[in-house]
Amino acid sequence: MLPIPGQVLVNVGDPVDPTQVVARTNLLGDFHIVPAARLLGIPTSQLGRHLRVRLGDEVRRGQTIAALSGPLGRSVKSPLNGVVTASGSGRILIEAQPTRFELRAYIDGTVSDVLRNYGVTIETMGAIIQGVWGAGRESFGVLKCMVKSPDQPLRARSIDSSCHGTILIGGTKLNEAVLERAQELQVRGIVTGGLAPEMLPLMKGVLFPVVVTEGIGEVPMSEPIFRLLATNEGREASISGRVRPRGGITRPEIIIPLPSGSTPPTQAQVRSPLEVGMQVRVVRAPLIGAVGTVVALPTHAHRIETGARVRGAEVDLNQAEPVFVPLANLEVLR
């Protein structure tokens, strides 16, 4: 959606591609409040008779906008190129030309709804992977798997010119050298299982989206997510690093559109209760990111390491024995 009202350029039913502009608006630019009355040395109420511009006039930097009469009269000049948008209380407001903001589709799909003056809803068929944290905005590119297994870190030395324009799939973590190399080679995005907390400050200035799928810390990417990304290596995908935990819960994501004509998957049941046999992911330490299968649902509460007694599930995590995990700390993978 546009940040402020603007113009939507497509209609319901239109096909769109990721680079296509679907809406645009003008973002407010710089501005300057010129204290013209003070600069001229006159009472604020008298400024009106000394103005040399009117509301709506375009002005150029250095152009006289107010002046006293006479050859030696003082004058006030515009400090920037812009438009006179207001005057009053002895001041003149000049706003620079707004900057054009273009909203791109970001995914391949079809426009299914138009939000008047603000944006569109685009439908597509494919896989969506939601992460838990992200940085950067939206982009798209070809998926490229950089590790052999989800518990391996992404290394800078493995990033070469073949990574240009791609979305890199990593494993447990990445470091500053990886970010530098990726930016150098104009990678389109990075997906990683975990991210060390000390890397967080570096994410502010990153030039491409980064999506963390499991959590902050050294956490391997979960097996199903890694498998989904790796088997789609070579396919175009869209990636967004936007994250907003509260309210709208905007999660960082990767969308892999399926080829047209593909059979849509069955609709997942949102409220189906947890059952034995379901695949789940653990969302809290000490097993954050671990994926397994529910093997039992005890009817009684168990005491966990903190001393709390909680309801939970026995989960097979491919360890020697199933592990008890509180229900509140499980996500069902659908």
Partner: protein
């Protein structure tokens, strides 16, 4: 009156940022009782995008427990109750699930009008996006002010400043900057302007704002330097929250149709219950033995997932403060960045660096319903809860008017009863941990009863009190709240290890127990819930336990609690060692002392 007589069953719902609760009160043997509760995820977001769905999910759990049906074939609430016991007579709802009101504040002096405006905004769920300091004058300040409003695009700009008959030009310049900013924004996104400054400038303010923005006017929040007047401005901001934020929730119309009374912000209902408890005079059984008197107040603290509320009542007057951007699931990372890692880690019994803490808070925010599995994460959550209470209290206290309830200006006023609510407190693995969080967060003085709202009933009962006061009283009597502990805090100074208080406890069975408490100690004595005891307190000379002044001895009847009797002789203000290893040892010792 006829309508009130027909109220038998009452269903109340509270829609929080993360969880939605529904509670059923009904008459059992002629008395209102809390009968059943259901809890479900709040459903304001995809895939439901309908706040009513979460309420329905919670109601379904009550149906499963009680065997009664509350929703009709169209999934709407059945009301009033039918002869076959389907439905309920009355439904009421409280909500805190909305985004907080985005506010830009303007004032002239940081510690005066700006602070008062901040406290006015804190009367509802709000987030301060920027502060316009009118004390800084000049073109560059104008530009900063205009940019702050334009870039933050708040819901409301609240301008205070100028006592009555005081400053005028600086206040009007703030209004001019605000109006200029509004003129630069698209009409649909312009903020509303709330003027709560020098009332003699209202006509000029109205002229300046003109047609550029919607203007509302409230009483001057600081009419004189000696006293604030926040109520009107708080009411205006609260009304804006209800109208602009709660009113925008998807599905809110459905919920409104179910309820004969307006839907209330959760914090307001919580505060109403505290006020109601104060006015009860003779409180229900659960707090018997520590009656609110004109010389002390009642305090309520609710630490939720996304917000923290402090409600203090003195002489029947409510002082409500809400941090709409700080709870145990959301806001931790921001608190860490703003106040520094040490603010949080000082409460931990083991070392932890800032990066690990930051990573924890980020992960927590993405999984707000999750619970700590490792002690390390539990301590971190409990540390955040302490700081949420402390930072909210910091905003609240300067606005209180406790009168004689505050014998020491630098310490908390006297409170007979402190009601605490929120998941981290209610679900602490050991009740001693909950008590310690409250003692560290609030630092109460004198003799206080800590009461735990174990089921999150407080806002619901505050709402019920407005509809059917008798139901609220009887529900409290019936065990809605649980006594956590009675706390005795002697005030004074001594050397660590000096005896500062002698206590003799006489139990119901006339057995006695005596103890001498040393300065620096945290002592816990057994007194289970449901039992009473008489305490004979003999403070050391110069020490005040709230029995009439320093050195005054006396007797007091007290009630038992989950933790029992706590004598907190650690000193006020509480001092933690600046050495991390020593403070960790201190915190660990305190946890052992309370049995946690």
């Amino acid at each position: 009156m006829a309508q009130e007589q027909r109220i038998g069953s009452i269903l109340v719902a509270d829609c929080g940022a993360v969880m939605t609760k529904a509670m059923l009160l009904d008459q059992v043997n002629g008395q209102y009782r809390f009968v059943a509760q259901g809890e479900a995820l709040t459903t304001t977001r995809h895939p439901w995008s309908d706040v009513a769905a979460g309420i329905r999910h919670a109601i379904e759990q009550i149906s499963a427990v009680t065997g009664r049906r509350f929703l009709d074939g169209s999934a709407n609430l059945i009301s009033p109750e039918l002869s076959n016991r389907q439905g309920v007579d009355v439904f009421a709802a409280t909500i805190s699930a909305s985004q907080p009101l985005q506010v830009v504040l303007g004032g002239l002096v940081q510690d005066l009008s700006i602070a008062s405006a901040e406290r006015a905004a804190a009367g509802t769920y709000s987030q301060i996006r920027a502060i316009l300091d009118g004390g800084k004058r000049g073109t560059s300040s104008d530009k900063e002010h205009v940019r702050a409003i334009r870039d933050n695009a708040p819901d409301v700009v609240c301008i205070a400043g100028g006592t009555e008959g005081g400053a005028d030009r600086p206040v009007l310049e703030l209004v001019e900057s605000t109006t200029l900013a509004c003129s630069m924004m698209e009409p649909e996104v312009r903020p509303l302007v709330l003027y709560a400054g020098n009332s003699q400038l209202r006509r000029q303010v109205t002229e300046i704002v003109g047609e550029e923005a919607e203007l509302r006017v409230a009483d001057n929040v600081l009419p004189t330097l000696e006293g604030e007047n926040l109520l009107n401005a708080q009411e205006e901001l609260d009304a804006l929250y209800v109208q602009q934020k709660m009113g925008e929730l998807p599905g809110i119309d459905t919920v409104s149709n179910w309820s004969p009374a307006p839907i209330t912000p959760t914090a307001r209902a919580f505060g109403r219950l505290m006020q109601y408890l104060w006015h009860l005079g003779e409180p229900p059984d659960i707090v018997k033995g520590s009656k609110a008197t004109p010389s002390s107040g009642i305090l309520g603290v609710d630490v939720g997932a996304a917000s923290t509320t402090v409600a203090a009542v003195f002489d029947g007057q409510l002082f409500l403060t809400v941090r709409g951007d700080l709870g145990v699931a959301f806001g931790g990372e921001r608190l860490l960045q703003k106040q520094g890692t040490e603010t949080i880690t000082r409460w931990l019994p083991e070392p932890m660096d800032g990066n690990e803490a930051r990573g924890f808070f980020i992960n927590r925010a993405m999984h707000p319903t999750s619970i700590p599995q490792e002690p390390r994460e539990l301590w971190l959550e409990q540390a955040l809860t302490r700081e949420a209470i402390r930072t909210t209290l910091q905003i609240a206290r300067p606005g209180w008017r406790p009168g004689v309830a505050q014998p020491y200006s630098h310490l908390l006023p006297l409170f007979d009863t402190i009601v605490v609510s929120g998941g981290v407190l209610a679900h602490a693995p050991h009740p001693g941990q909950a008590a310690l969080i409250v003692l560290d967060g609030l630092e109460p003085i004198g003799i206080t009863t800590l009461v735990l709202d174990a089921h999150g009933l407080a806002p619901a009962l505050g709402n019920v009190a407005a509809v059917k006061p008798l139901a609220a009283v009887e529900a409290l009597d019936g065990g809605g709240f649980i006594n956590l502990a009675t706390v005795i805090t002697p005030i004074g100074e001594a050397r660590p290890g000096d005896t500062v208080l002698r206590v003799q406890v006489t139990y119901d069975d006339d057995s006695t127990f005596s103890v001498e408490v040393n300065y620096g100690d945290l002592e816990v004595l057994p007194l289970p819930p449901g039992q009473q005891a008489v305490l004979e307190l003999h403070p050391r000379r110069g020490f005040d336990v709230g029995l009439g002044g320093p050195g005054k001895s006396g007797k007091r009847q007290v009630s038992g609690g989950l933790v029992g009797l706590i004598i907190d002789a650690r000193g006020r203000p509480l001092a933690l060692s600046s050495d991390p290893q020593q403070s960790q040892a201190q915190v660990q010792q305190w946890l052992w002392d309370v049995g946690g």
